[in-house]
Structures are given as C-alpha cells and as structure tokens.
C-alpha cells in the first residue's frame, strides 16, 4: 500500500507560492539595492562626475584634493574651489547640476557630500604617508577618473591593507598600533 504525499502538499500550495514570491522578491530587491543604491555608490547631493573632470578635462586629483600629500585627510574641496573655475564657465552655467552648485554658493552652505570610502573610527589612515610612499590613488580608490558616480571598488578591510603592507614590506607595517587607535 502506498501513501501519496501529493494530496497533503496540495493543501500547502497557496502558502508555498507565497513563500516563493517572497523569496524571489527579497532576492531581486537585494540585488537592485546592491547594484544601484548601495552604500558603495551613494547618490550624492550633486551628480558630480569625476569622469568629466578628471578624465575628459584631465584635471589632476591634487588640483582639488589639495592637501592629500601633506595631511591625514584627502580633503574634499570647498564650494569656493568649485566656483573658482565654474564662475568663468558660461557654457555650463545653466545646466541643472551647476544651478544646484550655485544654490549652495548663494546660500553660503557646504555641500553635504556622502562619504564613500569610510573607514571605521578605530583605524588611523594618513593619506600623506601613502602618497609620499608613492602609492597611486587608484590603488585604493579604483579608476575614479572613469566613474560618473564614485563607487567603492576595494574592500578596505584589514587583510586587504595588510596584503599590501606585506608585499611592500612596510616598516612596522604589521604593528597593530601603527594603524589602530
């Protein structure tokens, strides 16, 4: 005598379909979120394109991130820095992103940029040490010059840091207190 489980399953059919829909929905939602709205590439208050500035117009990184070679921070430029060039560029004066920029300038407000490469608070990362050692910006930040919206490409995890420190045989580069605080 055989017992069919199909009859029993049939009563759960509705719930199984709902569960399947939920799983598919969550997976798709997660993927959409990670691909388009993740913290790796947040939507900034102004759609500033590094591609236009650094690649098409070949402005070097340090023209705007002035203090990167002599400061712990890479330093995001002030609105003043943007306006220095843009007030002399009537060609793009009326484009929507520049209108936003002018708004911040007229209101005398800093632009609330969203930090993309955000290290934890217990990590001490001096930009100057790395720039002076000849590490290229792209080594950690990826090809920013080719990005319209900045995206975090490297993991920025401790093992990833240490891989490079080991490879370059950084002096005291493995001591905990060199990088942690």
């Amino acid at each position: 005598m055989s017992v069919s489980v199909l009859a029993a399953l049939r009563t759960f059919k509705k719930y199984a379909l709902i569960a399947l829909a939920v799983i598919v929905g969550f997976t798709a939602g997660h993927w959409v979120n990670a691909a388009f709205y993740s913290e790796n590439a947040p939507v900034q208050p102004i759609e500033f394109s590094h591609k236009i500035h650094a690649q098409d117009n070949e402005i070097p990184c340090m023209h705007c991130h002035v203090h990167v070679a002599r400061s712990i921070n890479a330093t995001v430029p002030s609105v003043n820095k943007c306006m220095n060039c843009h007030r002399n560029m009537p060609g793009v004066w009326e484009t929507p992103e520049i209108v936003k920029l002018r708004g911040y300038w007229e209101r005398q407000e800093p632009i609330p940029w969203i930090k993309v490469h955000d290290l934890p608070d217990f990590a001490y990362f001096p930009h100057k040490r790395h720039i002076q050692a000849g590490v290229d910006c792209a080594n950690c930040h990826g090809d920013v010059a080719g990005m319209d919206r900045v995206k975090q490409v490297e993991p920025l995890k401790m093992q990833w840091c240490l891989d490079c420190h080991n490879e370059r045989q950084v002096e005291h580069g493995r001591d905990c207190w060199t990088c942690h605080k």
Binding site: F122, Q132, K181
Partner: protein, 250 residues
C-alpha cells in the same frame, strides 16, 4: 600559532628592547609632585576615560589610567602625606604580556606595552598579573551625557564593555610626532612628544622622552642619584623612573 610564539620568544630575549627604534620612558620627580591631580584630569580628557559615577566608584570600578597614590605617615597633628603618581610602567619584561591568551597585549617596536582593544576578550588575567594594579576593565559601556560627548578625542577609540585598558603613553601623540618626523625624513626630536599628563603638570615633575637617546632630557634626568624603579626586585624593568623625595630632618 607556532609562528607567533617563535616571534614572541625572539622579542623576549634579555636586552631585546635596546634594539627598538625608540624606547619611550618617563622620569617622575616625587620631590616636585604636589599631588594636585592635574595629570589625572588631563589623562581623563585626552584618552576618553569614562566617568563611572559615584556608585561604581565605590565598587572600585573607576577607570583612571593615571592615579595619585597617597601615603600617610604619623598621626594627626604630626601627619605627613607623600604622593606617588602611578601609571602603567610600560615594563620591558611585562608580566601582563605573558598572561594574555589572545595576545591582546604585546610589546611593540617603540618599547611600549600596548593593548589591542579589538583582540581583548576580557579574561582580566593581565590585571591580575600586573603588580602595579594599573590595568582597568570596562564593566559597562559607558555613555557621555550631552554635551560631554563633544569633547571626546577623535584620535582615541572609545572602549566598550568587556575590554581591558591602560595607559598608552598617549600613543596618538607619539604617532603624530613620528608622522611629522617622517615628513622631514628625520627621527623624532627630544621634547616633540608630550603626553597629556606631562603637559599638564604645573611643577614639571614629569619628563618624557626616548631612553635610546643618551642626550635626551629623560635620559639625563634618570641619571640623578635619587633614581629608583617601583618594585625593582620583580625584574619587570619598568620604563618609568622615579626620583625619590628628599626629606629634611631636624
């Protein structure tokens, strides 16, 4: 694991600390110490030490990387009090380092006994092994009432519950000085690093510097004939030298 133990053994050879880049140390002149506790306050502000409150203070759960010990002699009215600032001695043969099961405390290339907060699992063994009782345990995650959180030092981690902590010789200031020296392509010069306690001391009872440099202020101060180290017989070889108090008897 065997790799770590081998490296660790290498660092435990006698005299190993002479090979260090710097050997940070301190000289405390007890003759100059007036027990004002300005150093204690400075340490509290610099290193994000929590304010534990009256109740927990009574339970001996206060956190003070630097404390002033008071020694009373005689009975009132002929009582006499002497002060001794007690902080982590940054021992070269540190007993705490032998105890930690997860290597959260170790000796680094600057001759500092350091504590890795993220590694610490809170067994509190190091505090038991420390003869100077200068290791403090976070029994709670402490909160800073507004607006006090605004004065937290961004260069120092805020420790959480379950983590051991102790004096670091203001390692954030050492790191900063080393960073600036490297920009010049030079070594850290004498007097460029000043821990918060040394900076705050009104009588200049504390001197900080590099013992590897024989001409540094700290090396010269340690040559004073009044010098001694606390509990020298334990062979912990502290990096802090005390200059004993001179007493006048009629």
């Amino acid at each position: 694991m065997a790799d770590i133990v081998e490296k660790w053994k290498k660092l435990r050879e006698p005299g190993y600390f002479g090979k260090f880049d710097y050997h940070w140390g301190m000289v405390i002149d007890l003759d100059r110490c007036s027990g004002c506790e300005a150093c204690v306050v400075a340490c509290q502000a610099e290193n994000n030490l929590p304010i534990v409150g009256e109740k927990r203070f009574a339970q001996n759960r206060e956190i003070k990387w630097l404390r002033i010990e008071r020694y009373w002699e005689g009975e009132y009215p002929d009582a006499k009090v002497t002060f001794l600032p007690m902080l982590c001695q940054q021992c070269d043969q540190a007993p705490c380092e032998t105890a930690c099961p997860v290597f959260a405390t170790y000796h680094n290339q600057d001759g500092l006994n350091t504590q890795v907060y993220n590694r610490c699992i809170g067994t509190r063994t190091c505090a038991v092994y420390c003869p100077y009782e200068v290791r403090y345990f976070n029994w709670f995650t402490y909160q800073w009432d507004e607006p006090l959180e605004q004065q937290l030092n961004p260069d120092v981690s805020v420790r959480e519950k379950g983590v051991m902590e102790k004096c670091t010789f203001c390692i954030q200031r050492i790191r900063d000085a080393k960073d600036q020296a490297k920009d010049r392509g030079d070594r850290v010069r004498d007097g460029e690093v000043t821990p918060a306690c040394v900076q705050a001391c009104p009588t200049e009872a504390m001197v900080f510097g590099d013992f590897n440099d024989p001409d540094s202020a700290v090396s010269r101060a340690a040559e004073d004939e009044r010098h001694y180290r606390v509990m020298e017989k334990l062979n912990t070889q502290p990096s802090i030298v005390y200059l004993t108090r001179v007493e006048h008897h009629d």
